[in-house]
């Protein structure tokens, strides 16, 4: 019998050994801070006074905005209001910009923006425009990259949930809009149907929207009607596949309730292949059908600085059942999300978010299958190509929950995995995984500069994450959103930087700064200003009454308003301040803020005219002032407006009093 002391000693020793073993580095989860090594900081350091290498256009998600960052620094440069109102600049509040947010549902000042897409020339971003989709009230906004303002906006009829949008054809002949929700369409009677009649009465659409090359004004060229499914994402063919468009779709189960389960039953859903050159030709030949589809197209007139709306009652539709060869389905496992085309245009990557592999389709094989009529059947009258016949191959066991794929110029693909929270780099030709790197946490989209184009610029991959958890200083229940920058220059991907983003970042685009910088508008030329209420100099300022409306032609120049004293306004009047900024130099905006204004202030760029409507609610003398620190005398830039009772007979008068008059 051994002594109890020895037994106790042995037990203690074993416990201590186990403790040490279990706490050794190999037996503990590595903490996320250990992931950054070496000289990451120097790779993202942009010296004060120097510029970033890339502009990064990131969706503002539920903020309805487009956010602009510099890469590699991750510095936020600007937030462009697109589907949101902006009290800072007056976007959506000024009389000039209100029409931009008009829809058939009325004035809609918010949306959920997902996918920025740069305009392209020869399948490469050209730095002219950035499009972004409004997911909720189906719309597409066009942002001019000379002014970084929303210049054009179109509403998509017969659509609900504009998620599969706004991807561009190789020369921005069109940007597309595929509906997430299929819905009943047509007249009121055809729309007022039981939800249970989904299969019979509901339809999907994909719309082809044409932006005018000179003005950016958008119109719907045609819509393709499809069987009821959910469209998710899309990409243009390019190079060898130029003329085709690919759309991922899920819910081929055609469920209308509890989609979580009911739309996850089939092993394969579809990628829809559309021959858009053929569709264009059919539309031109008048083969389409005009159907009801009221929608707004809003456009900012560059000469009058004012947005105007055009209302269309109808839309041209093409039904693939009438036009063989227009649309084909390819089976794709399982509930595909991303649908991405490699730089040569030969390979189409489907990311089945519930699949344990990544299928890669070959455009050459698709064409061969179409030629040989190699189909496995049809889906609501549309031919379904045989999976094995169109498949280039599958990437086996790449990770869990593949979502999106971007490419570099060296034949590699980068796929985001939401569930396993990682980016996986794989060789497109060989279908082999080359490298993987964790993301913090739960990546959604990812982006390589030019990674969806024919000529990726490469260098970085950016992860746009869905969850941040412990990565930043906490800010209550709602935490910041975030992106992560990785270098892809070496064989191994390398995490360089975390940076916070505004709104939930969905997709993003990036282009070299040199492509965009030379386009910048520095100010609006005052001699070209054709605003109906412009005052091109202080001599043109005045005030006029038109019934209950009082119009004030006002100017700003460092550092005074003209006129700055206004009398004779009465309760019950609607006062319109038409403010022209007379400055003609870069970076000299003036602000205009009226006490008690119910909507917003204005921020007026040099040479521009903007209008603020103000309905006075109180008798008295009320101030207005400049909100943008314009000069050493900014704090002196102010004025007064006198409001008299409704029955008053104070004459309408506007003036400025010079120092000479007072001496």
């Amino acid at each position: 019998m051994k002594s109890p002391i020895k037994i106790a000693g042995a037990a203690l020793g074993i416990t201590a050994g186990l403790f040490l073993l279990m706490n050794s580095p190999g037996c503990r989860p590595t903490t996320t801070t250990t992931a950054v090594t070496g000289d990451a900081a120097s790779k993202v350091y942009v010296k004060p006074g120097t510029h970033d290498e890339f502009y990064n256009f990131v969706s503002g998600g539920f903020s309805g905005q487009l956010a602009i960052y510099g890469l590699p620094s991750g510095r936020l440069l600007r937030e462009v209001p697109v589907f949101s109102v902006d009290p800072e600049s007056g976007y959506g509040y000024s009389e000039e910009t209100k029409p931009m947010l008009m829809t058939t549902h009325g004035f809609i000042p918010w949306d959920d923006s997902h996918h920025p897409e740069l305009s392209q020339t020869n399948a490469v971003p050209d730095g002219r425009w950035c499009f972004i989709n409004g997911n909720n009230t189906p719309r597409i906004g066009l942002i001019d990259l000379g002014t970084f303002r929303t210049h054009s906006m179109i509403e998509i009829p017969n659509s609900a949930g504009n998620h599969s949008s706004p991807f561009s054809t190789p020369n921005t002949e069109y940007v597309i809009a595929g509906t997430r929700f299929s819905v009943p369409m047509g007249d009121d009677a055809s729309r007022d149907v039981s939800i249970k009649s989904y299969k019979e009465n509901f339809k999907g659409t994909v719309s082809f929207i044409k932006p005018e090359p000179e003005t950016g004004k958008m119109s719907i060229a045609f819509q393709i009607v499809t069987p009821p499914v959910n469209f998710d994402l899309a990409r243009t063919g390019k190079g060898v596949s130029d003329g085709w468009f690919f759309f991922s779709c899920y819910n081929t189960e055609q469920a209308y309730s509890l989609l979580e389960v009911n739309a996850s039953q089939r092993d394969k859903d579809f990628i829809m292949c559309v021959n858009w050159k053929l569709a264009e030709q059919l539309a031109k030949e008048g083969k389409g059908k005009k159907v009801a589809g009221k929608h707004y197209s809003n456009w900012w007139n560059h000469n009058t600085h004012t947005a105007e709306s055009t209302i269309y009652e109808e839309v041209l539709q093409l039904d693939p059942k009438d036009h063989p060869g227009l649309v084909y389905f390819m089976p794709c496992p399982k509930s595909p999300h991303g649908c991405d085309v490699n730089p040569t245009g030969e390979y189409i990557v489907g990311s089945g978010k519930l699949a344990a592999l990544i299928p890669v389709f070959s455009f050459k094989k698709i064409q061969e299958a179409i030629a040989k009529n190699d189909v496995e059947g049809d889906f609501a009258g549309i031919p379904v190509l045989k999976y094995e016949s169109v498949l280039h191959g599958e990437v086996k066991k790449p990770g869990l929950g593949p979502l999106h794929t971007e490419f570099d110029a060296n034949g590699n693909a980068y796929t985001s995995f939401f569930v396993s929270s990682e980016i996986v780099k794989w060789n497109v030709e060989k279908l082999e995984v080359v490298d993987r790197v964790p993301t913090y946490y739960s990546i959604g989209h990812l982006m390589v500069p030019g990674g969806n184009s024919a000529k990726p610029w490469g260098k970085y991959v950016v992860a746009y994450n869905k969850i941040t958890k412990d990565r930043y200083l906490p800010t209550g229940p709602e935490l910041t959103q975030s992106a992560q920058l990785y270098s892809i220059e070496g064989d191994k991907m390398e995490l360089l930087l975390d940076f916070p983003t505004t709104g939930e970042p969905h997709y993003a685009q990036a282009a070299p700064a040199d492509l965009i910088k030379p386009r910048e508008v520095k100010f609006f030329k005052i001699e070209e200003n054709q605003h109906p209420y412009v005052a091109k100099g202080e001599k043109e300022t005045r005030v006029e009454r038109k019934g209950k409306e009082v119009h004030i032609w006002m100017t700003t120049i460092r550092s005074h308003f003209s006129p700055d004293n206004i009398e004779g306004v009465k309760l019950g009047d609607e006062v319109y301040f038409h403010v022209t900024n007379l400055e003609q130099d870069w970076d000299v905006p003036h602000g205009f803020a009226m006490k008690g204004a119910a909507n917003a202030e204005l921020l007026i760029m040099p040479g521009e005219t903007q209008t603020l409507k103000w309905i006075p609610t109180k008798v008295g003398v009320q101030p207005f002032y400049c909100t943008d620190f314009c000069s050493a005398l900014h704090q002196e830039m102010q004025g007064y407006i006198r409001v008299s009772p409704a029955n008053s007979n104070v004459p309408l008068n506007a003036y400025t009093v010079s120092v000479d008059a007072e001496l």
């Binding site: 460092r558 130099d585 000069s631 050493a632 005398l633 120092v659």
Partner: protein, 202 residues
């Protein structure tokens, strides 16, 4: 004069006409908030460059609004240049040395007069300030430098000849060169003459 000298005088006279088509002088300004800088060019008959921006800034300290009308010289300066050029051509055609001397002196006087006019304008522009200006700095005048660098409040100002100024200097240099060549020529001729006299009248 030797033919080469007369050709060079003719060239110099024609070169003077360049002053009608190019800026003569320029003033450059820079400040921390103007990293790209501001500039103003002075031509024979007008100003150009960021004159409006400079005026916009100068009104804070009460400097006059720079306008072409401020310079009476702008109305007749082109004519003066044309007359000088014509006189040069006459001198080249006539070929008398005394005319060369006359031309050089006239041109130097012209240059000196132009510089004096500029200094005088700059003095008034920098000193005669609006008494109601928003910003007044005790004992501060804003006379721009005639040539070279000067600090004016938050601005660094540089005043330098522009293309026309360099052409004018070039013309003066050329005429001076011709003058010295002619003087040397004259001397050697006189020396030769004297030697000849010594030889013939020992």
């Amino acid at each position: 004069m030797r033919p080469i000298s007369r050709v060079m005088i003719a060239l110099a006279a024609l070169a003077l006409l360049v002053l009608l088509f190019v800026p003569v002088w320029r003033i450059d300004l820079s400040a921390p908030q103007y990293p790209e800088g501001l500039y103003m060019q002075i031509w024979a008959d007008h100003f150009s460059g960021d004159v409006e921006k400079i005026n916009g800034l100068n009104h804070y300290i009460g400097m006059a609004h720079i306008k072409d009308e401020m310079f009476a010289e702008f109305t007749y300066l082109p004519k003066v240049i044309m007359v000088l050029s014509a006189l040069g051509l006459v001198a080249a055609a006539w070929g008398r040395r005394i005319l060369l001397v006359g031309g050089l002196v006239t041109l130097s006087l012209f240059g000196a007069w132009a510089l004096w006019r500029m200094w005088d304008w700059g003095y008034k522009y920098g000193h005669e300030l609006d008494p109601r200006a928003a910003i007044k700095v005790e004992d501060m005048a804003y006379q721009p430098p005639l040539i070279g660098h000067k600090q004016l409040l938050n601005f660094d100002a540089w005043s330098t000849p522009d293309v026309g100024g360099w052409v004018l200097f070039g013309v003066m240099g050329l005429l001076a060169g011709v003058y010295f060549m002619e003087v040397r020529e004259l001397r050697s001729k006189l020396k030769a003459k004297r030697t000849l006299q010594q030889v013939t009248n020992p």
